[in-house]
């Protein structure tokens, strides 16, 4: 395991706490009708998100899916415009045009989250192609779930990335369910082992609740990509605590309660807190990180609350690069 600077360790915990606090607040806001529509939370999956995003450099690219808030937060996006986007405000990161399913923050290399399962995988592949053609040293990563792992476009993309030796990481967030469907009932074989068919390494991180385990695995893939050695498939085993999406009431018929309890005992934030304490972080310092994350979320909500909704006059903006083409 790489020796990491204390600042990096602290930042990992802070980003995980940010995601937890942001998504817990978003969940409440959906239930109160403060956020229109629904959201998909990353609660329980913070180690997998932060381990992967922090293994990337700030100039590197990523694309994501519907479980989408954690990715930009993990990549370092400020929370205010993200929260404003969920509420539909003009100051949202996508000016209120995207919403929860379509967060994107190009300033941190976040090329966008996709509501269509699997659809954004080739987008990251194309970013990796850009890096290769322009020779600019950037790498790209596509986040997708175990459900998306059964979309054909993944395999078209893996094949292209392999044959072109693109600086690309395919990151499967295996939380073991696609909505109500247990992965093993619809997935033949092991996802990470599919990499072999494309001549690329496939790695399964069994301890996906351990942020350092994820960080190490993805860092190795990033180093490989940056060295010009091509793509890697990384499958991370994890678990979502909440329902597939907030407000959905599927009950526990499809996921038994014992299973959830067992995963709660491996909570990524709790695990990492213990680790940090063992590394000499004080309780005060660790509590302080938690307080910081909560304060940032409060500030993000305040920013959103103080922001206007978009005016109808901007509804057609950004349909095309020019205004005239919009009918």
């Amino acid at each position: 395991m790489a020796e990491l600077a204390r600042d990096t360790l602290r930042e990992m915990q802070l980003r995980m706490l940010r995601i937890r606090a942001f998504d817990e607040r978003a969940s409440k806001m959906v239930k109160r009708g403060h956020i229109p529509g629904t959201v998909h939370t990353s609660i329980g999956q913070e180690a997998q998100v932060v381990g992967a995003t922090m293994a990337l450099g700030s100039g590197d690219y990523m694309s994501g899916n519907h479980r989408s808030h954690g990715h930009p937060i993990g990549k370092g996006s400020p929370l205010g415009p993200l929260m404003a986007e969920l509420v539909g405000k003009a100051t949202g990161v996508c000016k209120g045009k995207g919403g929860s399913l379509h967060l994107a923050d190009f300033a941190v290399g976040s090329l966008g989250e996709s509501g269509i399962v699997g659809s954004s995988i080739p987008i990251a592949n194309g970013a990796a192609l850009s890096s290769k053609v322009l020779n600019n040293g950037k790498v790209a990563l596509a986040f997708f779930g175990d459900g998306a792992a059964n979309q054909g476009v993944l395999y078209e993309s893996m094949n292209m990335a392999g044959v072109w030796e693109l600086p690309m990481i395919f990151l499967c967030e295996n939380n073991q369910y696609a909505l109500s469907t247990p992965a093993h009932t619809v997935t033949s074989g092991i996802i990470s082992e599919r990499a072999a068919g494309f001549g690329m390494p496939g790695i399964r991180v069994e301890e996906g609740q351990d942020v350092l385990a994820v960080y190490d695995a993805v860092s190795a893939a990033v180093a490989r990509a940056r060295a010009g050695d091509g793509p890697t498939l990384v499958e991370v085993m994890t678990y979502r605590y909440n329902e597939h999406s907030e407000g959905l009431r599927l009950g526990t018929d499809y996921r038994n309660a014992d299973e959830r309890e067992a995963w709660l005992k491996k909570d990524p934030i709790m695990l990492f807190r213990h680790y940090l304490a063992s590394q000499g972080f004080s309780d005060d310092e660790l509590d302080g990180l938690q307080a910081t994350a909560l304060a940032e979320v409060d500030a993000a909500v305040a920013f959103s609350d103080a922001s206007p909704y978009p005016d109808l006059s901007v509804a057609f903006d950004d349909l095309y690069s020019d205004k005239e083409s919009a009918a």
Binding site: V93, A104, P122, N125, A128, S131, M160, Y320, S321, D322
Partner: protein, 342 residues
């Protein structure tokens, strides 16, 4: 001026664009070997015009047969600094990549609040009229006209093919270019220097005063031929080629119909929800009072394209079916029974 074929003009535009901007790349199936004739200068690989020799494998990329992956990767590349030209060969293959066209290519600029630029051109050839059967003969541009966020060109002449493609490559929006194989060998004098034809500007292919024919793609030369025939009978026909279907040059169409008072719309696509339907609705909504006769559409019928030449030939607008429609709107007696395709 140099005599260029339609296909040669596309090749010339691609070469100019590749020379002008290092960020332009060409990706697609079989582009290295110049199978479709727009990535080479001559007949053999060793010719100095060959794109692979000129630009190398970094910028001329053969792809696997993976249309969804190709279109998505081109979108991602466009969002991160490249300006890809994607050669999708046959228009019928666009369906394989429908999700990427509709959900990523068309939506990303808007959905992400203007953060994404999408400078990418998707070229494909409509292989209709060549007895290739139902899977290769589609003219699917109207489906894509129904997807806001895409821009669509359908050049009908070599000069338009060259000038429109240059503008398409320079545009920061995603452009679908629908080229007609029936026009590939059409030749005319084309400026060998660089020139750009702006998107959204129609071309008046023939000036007239009695009837406006708005014609698309390979229907343009058929409409011009019909106009020449009707001229002999004293009917003056104006032929408008929109060239760009999105954005459509509404002004040019409306001005022409306001002048002539009669409209025939001819296109090789299916009848229902086609470009002709859209243009007809536009005219009916905006300048109904100027119309002296009902609008007539001359299109392909709503059916599959049959293989046998004796059947396929009847499916698309021809000089005869367009002329028959013109005769109807000016109240001339029909010369022969109007073909089923009208």
């Amino acid at each position: 001026m140099t005599v260029m074929s339609y296909l040669g003009a596309i090749g010339a535009a691609q070469r100019e664009a590749m020379d002008a901007d290092e960020r332009v790349i060409i990706i697609g199936e079989d582009v290295e070997a110049n199978v479709y004739g727009t990535t080479g200068g001559g007949k053999s690989r060793s010719d100095k015009g060959d794109f692979l020799q000129r630009y190398g494998r970094n910028r001329i990329r053969n792809t696997p047969i993976s249309e969804e992956g190709i279109v998505g990767a081109a979108a991602g590349a466009a969002m991160t600094g490249l300006r890809p030209i994607v050669d999708l060969s046959y228009s019928s293959f666009l369906y394989m990549a429908m999700d990427q066209f509709v959900n990523q290519v068309a939506k990303n600029r808007y959905m992400f609040g203007g953060q994404a630029s999408m400078p990418v051109v998707f070229r494909s050839a409509m292989f209709y009229g060549l007895n290739t059967g139902a899977h290769h003969s589609d003219r699917p541009y109207p489906m894509f006209m129904n997807v806001p966020g895409l821009k669509i060109i359908a050049p009908a002449t070599p000069a338009d093919a060259k000038g429109l493609l240059r503008s398409a490559v320079d545009s920061d929006d995603p452009i679908l270019s629908f080229e007609a194989c029936l026009l590939w060998s059409t030749k005319e004098d084309v400026d060998e220097n660089e020139f750009w034809i702006p998107l959204g500007v129609a071309r008046t292919a023939r000036v007239g005063t009695d009837v406006t024919v708005v014609a698309i793609s390979s229907s343009v030369p058929e409409a011009v031929a019909a106009a020449e025939e009707l001229a002999k009978e004293g009917v003056s026909v104006e032929v408008i080629d929109p060239r760009t279907l999105v954005p459509l040059d509404r002004g040019a169409i409306l001005r022409s119909v306001a002048k002539t008072g009669r409209l025939v719309v001819a296109e090789p696509a299916h009848r229902t929800c086609g470009a002709a339907a859209e243009i007809s609705a536009l005219v009916a909504e905006e300048i109904f009072d100027s119309l002296k006769a009902p609008i007539i559409r001359v299109t392909a019928p709503d059916m599959q394209i049959p293989f046998s030449p004796s059947l396929e030939k009847q499916m698309y607008p021809t000089k005869a079916t367009i002329a028959a429609a013109i005769r109807r709107v000016v109240d001339l007696p029909a010369l022969q029974p109007v073909a089923a395709a009208v």
